[in-house]
Symmetry: C2
Subunit: 231 residues, 2 copies
């Protein structure tokens, strides 16, 4: 058993693994298995195969429901931005998964522990193990904490431009004047929070907060889109 | 509502759709929406985005569990063979989905109804609608009937060579003599069924049936692999 891993998952994420052999599999690299032939260990690749598909579905379903009018092309671009090596390696690091990987000596020396591709694999493998051990609802709850909040933090904003989408929606049947107005600016200089409102032909249709004016405008546009879709 | 579709799903698959609007969305092409602007219809692309991910997970999970020792590379190749335009368009046709697609006149003339890419899209969109309306268990039950049996029919055998896998497993720790022996040959000439047994160093380890000797040998190897994995 990998020392400390089950305890960390319990302490940090409230996850109580039943079958810890799945966890061992998810955190074990082929190089470690090769160095310990007598232990008949499994390495993470099969379980990563499953975890990859679990992530695809959970992220797809979340995006599909969160953005009920976003066209397929934008959903796909956003999913590709979230389900990728760059994002997953960051999530793995944030969860301290790097500290628990079982590596062979050669790979350890080659600093594989900090390699983005390996961290990404381990994150997917962990998701596969979590899915098998605890089911989809627990996976969704885990990624609701680790992955989805990054949308609100603006990690993927360059893939999703709410302001452009709002403009397209409002101007599809003719002209409409859209303006963004600063409502508030709070906090110290290095931790400023802006509140921006968006107006369509002089009528307020949304408000949002952010760490920059631009981020707050995107949030305001997003809130306006949500409100318009309800009508 | 698309005439006959809900009834067909009830009669042929025992599926009782609650929200038939999802079905309409899944079977409606953008060209039809464009020709009927007043009806404010949705076309299938968003729901297909979801259905694609649902298929990925359901097929991955099935393969992961059915082949507990198959390495990741083979699992991925097999999944790619199953989750692809060629397979999905055949499944769509087999389910008569082509008869229910709502197309614009131009696309109808261009014979889009029989285009593999469109049939594939519709199959994925249907899976997305089924998932939203009935949940994953019903999707699994549907594809257990439409998709998974194709594995046993040998549709994907060229992606999965059980005989080679058995040989690799048996000979990993040294030499082992593997032989295939015909046990039976039944039925008329045009519908022959062969039964083949596989022996390892003279001991029988598996038996399988098939429409050809080769298919029966693959089945025998597959059964031997299953039995060996249990030990």
């Amino acid at each position: 058993m990998i020392i400390g891993l089950t305890q960390m998952l319990k302490d940090d994420f409230g996850i109580d693994f039943k079958n810890t052999a799945l966890l061992d599999e998810a955190f074990t690299h082929a190089s470690y298995v090769n160095e310990h032939p007598r232990e008949k260990l499994k390495y993470y690749e099969r379980i990563e195969f499953l975890g990859d598909a679990v992530m695809q579905l959970c992220v797809s379903e979340y995006l599909f429901k969160r953005y009920p009018t976003l066209p397929e092309g934008k959903l796909s671009r956003l999913r590709a931005a979230m389900v990728c090596e760059d994002s997953f390696s960051k999530f793995a690091k944030e969860c301290h998964f790097d500290e628990y990987i079982r590596l062979g000596k050669g790979e350890e020396k080659a600093n594989a522990r900090n390699r983005a591709s390996l961290l990404c694999d381990i994150f997917e493998a962990f998701i596969g193990a979590l899915y098998l051990d605890q089911g989809k609802a627990v996976v969704v709850s885990f990624i609701s904490r680790v992955v989805f909040p990054k949308l609100d933090l603006g990690w993927f904003d360059h893939y999703l431009d709410h302001k452009t989408e709002l403009q397209e929606l409002l101007q599809q049947h003719g002209d409409c004047k859209i303006t963004y107005v600063k409502v508030a600016e709070n906090g110290p200089d290095n931790e400023k929070e802006y509140t921006m409102a968006v107006y369509a032909d002089g009528q307020k249709i949304g408000e949002g907060k952010g760490m920059s004016k631009k981020a707050a405008e995107q949030q305001a546009a997003f809130q306006a889109l949500k409100a318009l879709q309800k009508n």
